[in-house]
Amino acid sequence: MAPEKAVVLLDERVSPFGQRVRIALAEKGVEHEYREEDLTNKSPLLLKSNPVYKKIPVLIYDGKPISESLIIVQYIDDVWVHGTPLLPTDPYERANARFWAYFVDKKIYDCGARMLKYTGEAHEEAKEEFMENLKLLEGELQDKTYFGGENFGLVDMAFVPFTTWFYTFEFYGNFSIEKEFPKLVAWGKRCMERESVSKSLQDPLEVYELLAYLIKKKYGKV
């Protein structure tokens, strides 16, 4: 039998985008080599593998690099077909999964980050948008076990790393996510019961300490 083709993940431990890929690889049981990147001193391999964005995560399989976390997750699902399916089989459900996964990137991450960075009116605007978007996301989840229904999938993987950011969002936003969006919090806890998730994510207090440090350093905000 031919030897397994090498799987290498270029990543950074605290990156929620990298965490998505780690969760996907774990769900599929894919053995891989994990390489931690120092983003202040990017490796030649990273620069060669992702010349357009020079960002992690990058998955390299059999020497060929793939970038962009949601694209990598779909790729993993396409290649390791025998593992847990990460996307539904029905085309409409697949379209819906892609829609909400990209919603997390466009609408949750973006305004969550702005809420953390800014003060005054810009902060209030970002917070309002952030709450509206979390409400939309909770509306999509409703009372399902996962966003994928009974199956943990793309949307769950897209959003779950950000549940470790909840503590930080609450601190800077001055609100309780559990109070406002109890279904999302309950969903997050269910996801954490999966080994693929609990082993890939950071502790929320560690996330807070790191983000607080970066926010103070870059934006002078305490």
Binding site: V52, Y61, K64, I66, S67, E68, I71, I72, Q74, Y75, D78, V79, P91, Y92, R94, A95, R98, F99, Y102, F103, K107, L136
Partner: protein, 233 residues
């Protein structure tokens, strides 16, 4: 089975995103009802079908809405898989590369083009955006060389995902050139893409969908005026 179905597309003649969906439907030979949304108005059906973004295109298949142009294209490719050539490549790696460039085109490249289209008479910003648009096209020229493998399209023998993702903007690129007085399409810099663009625009699935550049310029000016009016209010 994709048999007798109710298929509606909410869109506008000028929107490159809508053109994407229409090209995909043409490639699969699928008939549909086109519902034109007017500039500056959003129909009840649109607001109900895309409550999150309230934007066109929206494909409504047997009453179920699908939103976001490249998601719609992939949906069409999957539902009508047997009806026409594959839009997404069959190889998983090639598929990932196609998705990568589609995201790059929308997230990084198009916003620069849009900046040129809606710019007021600000030469500095426009000139800078134009340089970045050209740099992006040069990246895409390299991507074309790799993906086409000597054939006519990014997708090989037939129009595929990246062709649709990029080609839909072609009319707007020409409109931007005239509106801002900048040269974006340079045969010296992007010879392969220039050849590709001609083939793309004359492909059967595409040719009737590309709007006339003069009409786009008129439309662009209206959009620009509305945006600038909104900004000053």
């Amino acid at each position: 089975m994709a048999g007798d179905q109710e298929l509606k597309l909410l869109g506008s003649w000028a929107s490159p995103f809508v053109i994407r969906a229409r090209i995909a439907l043409n490639l699969k030979g699928v008939g549909y009802e086109f519902l034109e949304e007017g500039l500056g108005t959003k129909s009840e059906l649109l607001l109900k079908s895309n409550p999150v973004y309230k934007q066109i295109p929206v494909l409504i298949h047997n009453g179920k809405p699908i939103c976001e142009s490249m998601i719609i294209v992939q949906y069409i490719d999957e539902v009508w898989a047997a009806a026409g050539p594959s839009i997404l490549p069959s190889d998983p790696y090639d598929r990932a590369i196609a998705r990568f460039w589609a995201v790059y085109i929308d997230d990084k490249w198009f916003p620069l083009l849009w900046k040129i289209i809606i710019a007021k008479a600000d030469d500095e910003e426009t000139a800078e955006a134009a340089e970045q648009v050209i740099a992006g096209l040069q990246l895409l020229e390299e991507a074309f060389e790799k993906c086409s493998k000597g054939k006519d399209f990014f997708g090989g023998k037939s129009v595929g995902c990246i062709d649709i993702a990029l080609g839909c903007y072609f009319g707007w690129v020409k409109a931007a050139e005239k509106m801002a007085g900048v040269k974006l399409l340079d045969k010296e810099k992007i010879p392969l893409l220039m050849g590709w663009a001609e083939r793309f625009c004359s492909a059967d699935a595409v040719k009737e969908l590309m709007p006339e550049v003069d009409k786009l310029i008129e439309h662009g000016k209206m959009v620009r005026a509305r945006l600038n009016a909104a900004a000053t209010n």
